[in-house]
Amino acid sequence: MSEVAAAAPALAGAATPGRTRRLPRLRPGPLLGAAIVLLLLVCAVAPDWVAPYSPLKFDYRGTLRPPSWAHPFGTDNFGRDILSRVIWATRIDMQIAIFSTLFPAVFGTVAGCLVGYFGGVADLLFRRLVDLVVTVPFLVLVIAIVAVLGPGLVNMYVAVSAVGWIFYARLMRGEILAQKRRDYAAAGRVMGYGWPRIVFRHLLPNAISPVLVFWMTDMALCILLGSSLGYLGLGAQPPTAEWGVLIADGKNFMTTAWWMSIFPGMAIVLAGIGFSLLGDGVAALVRRR
């Protein structure tokens, strides 16, 4: 017993050194993720300030140059600086990350709240819709929609939004189902509060954390998706610099100029890692309650 008592403070001290009451210590992983995302955001907001060259400037005397001090990522078949193109592509890919998740996250959350809280026929229809959507792979569904609407970024946003909200709604519905059984939901009704107040002010903040985490992961997935569609020629159209498009541009030169596809590919990996680490951090923050 005394051993346990003696060990307890030491353990607590080891696990959480310098932990304040409100702000838990930031772990290195999420911190790194935040740094990566911040770097990407800076590139997206001010690419002309970060990039050494114009992404569209041709230089026919310097085509397909390997990485060097002047061109750290090399140049492509038109002599354009790959580093600058990767940096400019960040703007498009960040747009993809935000625009193709914003509507699904917001609309899906609200829809999930409502079907979760009220249940009934709307919930039944929603569950059938979920069954329908999960039977078809997400990528195939999105490609089918984009193929019908025609290639391009805006149509890609439309396609991803039309399908993506269902995943957020499904997540939210489950959380609301669990939360609405708890006493504070009953207490809200006892206080005479209307359903909008109970659902959006009390239940939603208690149920939102998995959605936030999923949102972060989803951003990384959407960048991958945008790059895949760009690669397939269904997303951003050349000469717009977009990571997937850049990789596709380089595929004919893969054996002679590996740098054309490798560096945009690494940018995608970096973005994926950054958002995932940040998502972990957000998860840890909301889980501390």
């Binding site: 708890r182 006493d183 504070y184 009953a186 207490a187 809200g188 009704r189 006892v190 206080m191 005479g192 509060y193 209307g194 107040r197 002010r201 009390h202 903040p205 208690n206 309650r289």
Partner: protein, 325 residues
């Protein structure tokens, strides 16, 4: 004396079962009524039925007259205005009944805004007064605290403060002290009594603990298997219990006068709500039951001016109680 709340023949039907069946009681202004019963006797259902908080599958019949108007017949929009404003409610488990992500102060000012149209600094001032009123020390500092930063007793005080924000005339307390330490229980009960006196508020205290009833309630209704077995002034029921079940309950509680005697539990278990006995619902467990007890449910009959029992053997019970005392 006009009643603040008068419940007449309240019944709740869930599928084939009737977990609340023909419950009637009246409550005067400033009165504390105890509803006592075992788990599953329909105590909590009764409270929720009065506020129309039961899920759709439960069908409620009877009447609950609130200052003359039937709550059960009211449209949802109208009863919603009464909830929190005229009738407040507190729960057994104060941790889960408070919203975990909002500070206590916000949860009080929210209610103030909803019911009294009190906002901003005025609402915060009133919130501090309310926390003071329920005896939370350092009320001003505690406004920004979250529920998980309070101890159990403090949480229940905060819950009471939120319930009081709408200045209700009636507080429904659903086992408010069951989850608390005995010393804290006593503090919370004293608080409820003080609030009753200061705010001229009526209280319905639902509990399974006879000791709590004895110390706090003016009148008692003993509930068993969804029916009222006995109702009357607390003192009269303790001195001369008029129902075999009440006597059984009292004998199963340790008492100083009966120290060192073996406690007498009630044999058997409460009936399944789907298959209630045809006669008195306590009859299968009753040691005093006669043939008539098993035939038809005995109606409530007066034993005194405000004391009534649904026991055919009330006289025998009184005799046994007198012998024991």
């Amino acid at each position: 004396m006009t009643s603040l709340l008068e419940v007449r023949d309240l019944a709740v039907q869930i599928g084939p079962a009737r977990p609340v069946d023909g419950v009637s009681f009246a409550l005067a202004r400033g009165e504390v009524l105890g509803i006592v019963g075992e788990s599953g006797s329909g105590k909590s259902l009764t409270l929720r039925a009065i506020l129309k908080l039961l899920p759709g599958i439960a069908r409620t019949s009877g009447a609950a007259l609130w200052q003359g108007r039937d709550l059960l017949a009211m449209p949802e929009a109208e009863i919603r205005r009464l909830r929190g404003r005229e009738i407040g409610m507190i729960f057994q488990e104060p941790m889960t009944a408070l919203d975990p992500v909002l500070p206590i102060g916000l949860q009080i000012t929210e209610s103030l805004g909803e019911h009294l149209a009190l906002h901003g600094a005025a609402a915060r001032r009133r919130a501090v007064e309310l926390l003071d009123l329920v005896g939370i020390p350092g009320a001003r500092r505690r406004l920004d605290s979250f529920p998980h930063e309070f101890s159990g007793g403090m949480r229940q005080r905060a819950m009471i403060a939120i319930a009081l924000a709408g200045e209700p005339k009636l507080l429904l307390a659903d086992e408010p002290t069951t989850a608390l330490d005995v010393t804290i229980q006593d503090q919370i009960l004293r608080l409820l009594l003080r609030l009753r006196d200061e705010l001229a508020m009526s209280v319905i205290l639902v509990t399974h603990d006879l000791g709590i009833v004895a110390g706090t309630c003016d009148r008692v209704a003993v509930l068993y298997a969804g029916r009222i077995m006995e109702t009357g002034p607390t003192g009269a029921i303790y001195r001369t219990p008029g129902h075999a079940y009440t006597l059984g309950l009292m004998r199963s509680v340790p008492h100083r006068a009966l120290a060192r005697q073996r406690l007498q539990g009630i044999p058997g278990v409460p009936p399944d709500p789907g298959r209630m006995p045809p006669g008195c619902r306590f009859a299968p467990r009753c040691t005093l039951a006669v043939a008539a007890c098993h035939q038809a449910p005995p109606p409530l009959r007066p034993l005194g001016p405000t004391h009534a029992t649904a026991c055919l053997r009330a006289e025998a019970v009184a005799g046994m109680a007198a012998v024991a005392a």
